[in-house]
Amino acid sequence: MLSLTPMPTELVSYYNDSEDTRHFCFRLLDPEAIKKTQPGQFFMLHIPGIGAAPFTFTTPPDSRGVFYALIKSVGKVTRALFNQQAGTTLGVRGPFGTGWPIKTLAGQRILIVAGGCGIAPLVNLTETLLQQNSYQSLALLYGAGSQKTEMLKAQRLRWQQQMPMYTVLEAPGQSELTGTPVDVLDTVLGQLGEFPTALLLCGPEIMMQKMAVKFIDKGLAESSIWLSIERRMHCAVGLCGHCYLHHSYGCADGPTYQWDHYQRLSAGDTDPGLVIPSQI
């Protein structure tokens, strides 16, 4: 039988990481409660009496049950979280969903593209890849609105020592590259030299769509692109129905999808908001 009841978890500490975003440290009171996670998997955070929402582990639970998440304040649950004091007991359920295809990425030329808070599900992946060092090459293209909303500066500085890193900001004059990741893709590819063999995406769905289509046009196989999607989630175990993507449940079959699979699923849904590749 599955459980929909959270496990008590302490909010240990946090620090501000750009405007409206904080990096939180949590501790499972029972360190055994979550044993193994894959990069890209998520948990449900419960603020008792307020609500619950899905967030990705930026660092998965260690042997003491300590883990981290990068969280942006956008609505009811996240605002309530930002009002909690260190030491408060909250609830956590997880881990849920499918992670990034770590094994498949071995030996590949990997490009990670993240937009805004979409970098959260890619943090643990980047750290894991750097640690395993089994790729041929690894680069990150990160897009944000402005210097104020750029996240993970400290981590990115550290990563920069080990891999090519491109930051593009929409606000003019605040970075070397201006615009969105899609706008600057050709420049970045020119600087990278070798064309990637694997593309990993997380950010606004429209950005991921455009990016994937550009790469497919340039010859990257659809099956070499993965994305992590956002969907509204209540149960995270395939019951409540909220996270559906045609016949698939984002909480269980996703949030990580191979592009061709995602494409088939979203073509099954009539959604004028989603741009079908042929229309871009």
């Binding site: 929909l4 009841t5 609500g51 619950a52 908001g273 989603l274």
Partner: protein, 341 residues
């Protein structure tokens, strides 16, 4: 399957009442009927009209607490109901319960109620107004896999009792009923067959279902259909197989709690995210999902059957014209119109 003869259902009802809380269908003056807990069992009346609410809420509660928090610990609030019997459920609703048994197989709240329930099914002998159970293999005779005991009214007014599960067998213990002869079973098959023949023929149902399972219907159709969906949730609330739910946290004197409640994938805000991105903003997209989910090949693969049991409640309740019969007719007409000459 063991089979017995029974003169009056009350003999069985009183026997079961010793061990179970009895729920049965009670007729209302307006011709409708609803499920009600009985102090003392009442004679069973032939089904005139399907009860507008299915017994879904007995297992998947319309609203229920999931857990409570006392400031330190979270406590799962699984219900602990006394054993109960649903006496006289028709085949479509029993098929829906069997479907939800699979869907909620790992859900502790659903299963806590379900394991306490004894299901006594009734064969339908006349078609109901909106029903098409035989088209989707859900009736009118009760499928033995979906009930513990099946009751079949014989032409003379006596009842044939079929015992279709171990639980059913145990429930009958101590009630010495005479065995039925093989003719009674033949008679049952014949009566069920007669009932099937009385259903109004509507070829658009089977054709529409085909088109839906092959997912050959284009988006323009759904956009048009969407114009007539009021997103009122009448169909999803009454549908015995619909299972979407939302959650809500609240605080009272005893602590902090989370409850779940029936939600509807046809509501505009069902998938809206904090960023306001809404993958199913259009009513047409939501209807497409609703109907393809009921009839897709994926559903058949996962559950061994369609997600619709042919009760027709969505048609009965829809204030627009997007219930099952209307939708199927429109699918067939649309596909005929757009087919190449």
């Amino acid at each position: 399957m063991q089979s017995y003869q029974l003169e009056t259902t009350q003999t069985l009802q009183y026997h079961l009442a010793d061990h179970y809380q009895i729920y049965q269908r009670v007729d209302l003056q307006n011709g409708d009927s609803h499920w009600q807990s009985m102090e003392s069992p009442q004679p069973v009346t032939p089904l005139q009209k399907l009860p507008i609410s299915s017994p879904k809420q007995f297992f998947f509660s319309e609203r229920e607490n999931l857990f409570s928090f006392d400031g330190e610990c979270f406590r799962e609030t699984v219900p602990e109901p006394e054993p109960f019997v649903l006496f006289g459920v028709q085949s479509c609703d029993l098929t829906a319960i069997a479907y939800q048994d699979q869907f909620f197989a790992e859900d502790p709240y659903y299963q806590a109620r379900r394991k306490q329930a004894l299901l006594v099914g009734f064969d339908c002998l006349t078609p109901c107004e909106y029903g098409f159970c035989h088209t989707v293999n859900a009736g009118p005779g009760v499928n033995p896999d979906c009930a513990d005991i099946i009751l079949h009214r014989q032409p003379g007014g006596d009842w044939l009792v079929l015992v279709s599960s171990l639980k059913g067998k145990q429930a009958l213990r101590g009630l010495n009923l005479p065995a039925a002869d093989s003719q009674a079973l033949v008679g049952r098959d014949q009566q069920v067959k007669n009932c099937i023949e009385q259903f109004e023929q509507d070829p658009s149902l089977a054709q529409g279902i085909d088109q839906l399972s092959n997912e050959t219907i284009d988006n323009d159709f759904w956009q048009q259909l969407g114009l007539q969906c009021l997103s009122c949730s009448g169909c999803t609330t009454l549908c015995p197989t619909c299972s979407c739910y939302g959650t809500r946290d609240f605080v009272d004197d005893t602590g902090q709690h989370q409850e779940r409640f029936w939600d509807s994938c046809l509501y505009e805000s069902f998938q809206r995210e904090a960023s306001q991105h809404n993958p199913s903003e259009e009513a047409g997209a939501r209807l497409k999902r609703f109907w393809t989910h009921k009839f897709s090949q994926q559903t058949v693969k996962a559950f061994g059957r369609h997600g619709c049991v042919g009760c027709g409640r969505c048609e009965q309740t829809c204030p627009g014209v997007v219930g099952v019969h209307s939708t199927m007719k429109r699918i067939v007409a649309y596909q005929a119109e757009s087919a190449p000459c």
